[in-house]
Amino acid sequence: MRRRSSLPVTFLVPTLAILLVLSMVPTLYAIVIALQNRELSSPGYSWVWFSNFADLFLDRRFLNAVWVSVKWEIVTVVATMAVAIGLGVLMFEVASPRLRNFYCLLFIIPVLLPRVSAAFVWKFAYHPLYGIATYPYRLITGGLIFDPLSKPATALFAVASVDVWQWGLFFAVIVLKLLETLPPQPIEAARLDHAKRWQIHAYVTLPMLKAPLISLMFVKMIESLRSFDLIYVMTRGGPGVATETLDMYAFSQGFIESGKVSYASAMAVLMMIATVITFTMLWKRVQA
């Protein structure tokens, strides 16, 4: 048995104190700013209390941004999980151990790239005239132009595809590793019962992995909130406001267009409240 020691106190207290200060100061200050009417251009300000929040709910561009963010969240999370489970199961089924390692290495590469790099790589690939990803379309149609990033109907999906390229492939590796940790007996038993390959996965292996897969989805939901870099580089929220998520809109209100820092902060505070409540509830459910 280990003796009583000062170690937990000396190791924990400074770190937790610093984390608390570093996180609570900006959080509380964000709320303070949101209740004022600060602007970047002028040093003076006064307290306006909740009028920024009231304005937000009348701001159609804000409501659009909420809707775009929700769409982004759903599209990227669902597509990432589908790609991850699909490729993970395929690797488990048809790839030899050596091939699995090789694919795992390849599939980790996109997620390591800075989002700015990934965004740029694909922005150029989607270029209507010179892009490599639009080349097959030009080849088949004899030179017609397809510009996914400048059409409101396709822009969000084109940006989301980059997110899925990064995270879906990476999660496929994790799904494979999870499948490898399963005991072989249930799979053998199902096979003896003449279950088909897809049936084994749909009814045996994936249900066994329900808890870790839900945790994985949870991680992806958190990471999907960080869409800013991709959207900033690829579309800047455009065309129009078709890809303007909440963080993009907050940034352009606070810094590009009008310098309304307080208005932007009110938006950020609403985002913070929504995400903290949602994820705390989800986390408690995942843990239970």
């Binding site: 003796r3 590469i109 790099s117 740029f120 005239l129």
Partner: protein, 275 residues
């Protein structure tokens, strides 16, 4: 397991996998190729595979002051933040892993919940604060802000790493008369080193790739490499594409250096789970 006959389904599955593997690396490889092309070879309707390579783009990038400053800022900001993350995060993680108390669950949740905070919500007030105390657009401001990220991530990943150290080894050291601190230094740290290096590498990649906070907290002096690269790409459609591609390659290289370490880390995490 008995071998399965070769069926069309298996062939299709292998083809899909091969396609996915191709899609994973091809866009990046193409960018690297474009970095070696003259502009006339990039702006073609039919992609060119055969061309006369040039090093002009790369030497242009490496000769630009803005890029070199960005590289320096990124290296210092990320290096310092990771160092602070190690010094503060690892001991705290060890205390949570090895000295369970009734707050352990709450501490873990608090550390994780820092990841829920939208970066805009942190960056806007911090910008105002740094402006007020005159540290806006400086490296120390960026380092302090990034430390929040590195400490929490390193702590979160190091807790399971320390829990993976066999308890018996530590108990034996106690019996041999080691104190609590030297058990941490001489036993837990070296035994868990492999996983810990993975956790540290992960936190480095995270801050190296960070964009939004750096964008909001710098205007000229403290710009990191991602900001410089994104500014190059915002120069409209007449940009020298080759130079852009070269800057993307430069930005992407450091995280890719950790590919081996991180895939090893992933393997060790799941091996632990299995046993």
């Amino acid at each position: 397991m008995k071998p399965y006959r070769l069926r069309p389904g298996r062939l299709i599955a292998k083809a899909v996998l091969a396609l996915a593997g191709f899609l994973a690396v091809f866009p990046l490889a193409w960018t690297a190729l474009n970095a070696l092309k003259n502009n006339v070879d990039i702006i073609t309707r039919v992609p060119k595979v055969v061309f006369t390579p040039t090093l002009a783009n790369i030497s242009y990038i490496l000769g630009r002051d803005s890029v070199l400053t960005g590289l320096y800022n990124s290296a210092v900001a990320c290096g310092a933040a990771v160092l602070i993350g190690i010094v503060l995060g690892l001991p705290a993680a060890y205390a949570v892993a090895r000295y369970p108390n009734r707050f352990a669950g709450d501490i873990q949740f608090f550390v994780l919940s820092l990841r829920f905070l939208p970066p805009v919500a942190v960056a806007i007030p911090l910008m105002v604060i740094w402006l007020q105390i005159g540290l806006y657009d400086t490296l120390p401001a960026l380092i302090v802000t990034y430390s929040l990220l590195t400490i929490s991530v390193i702590m979160w990943l190091a807790i399971p790493a320390f829990q993976g150290v066999p308890k018996e080894i530590e108990e034996a050291a106690f019996v041999d008369g080691y104190g609590a601190y030297s058990v941490f230094w001489r036993i837990a740290l070296p035994v868990a080193a492999r996983s810990l290096i993975g956790a540290i590498a992960f936190s480095f990649v995270l801050v190296w790739n960070e964009f939004l906070i750096a964008l909001m907290l710098s205007s000229s002096n403290a710009k990191t490499l991602p900001i410089v690269a994104s500014e190059l790409s915002q120069q409209g459609m007449n940009v020298p594409w080759g130079i852009l591609n070269a800057s993307v390659v430069l930005l992407s290289l450091p995280p890719l250096l950790f590919l081996g370490v991180l895939s090893g880390f992933l393997n060790s995490v799941f091996r632990q789970k299995k046993s």
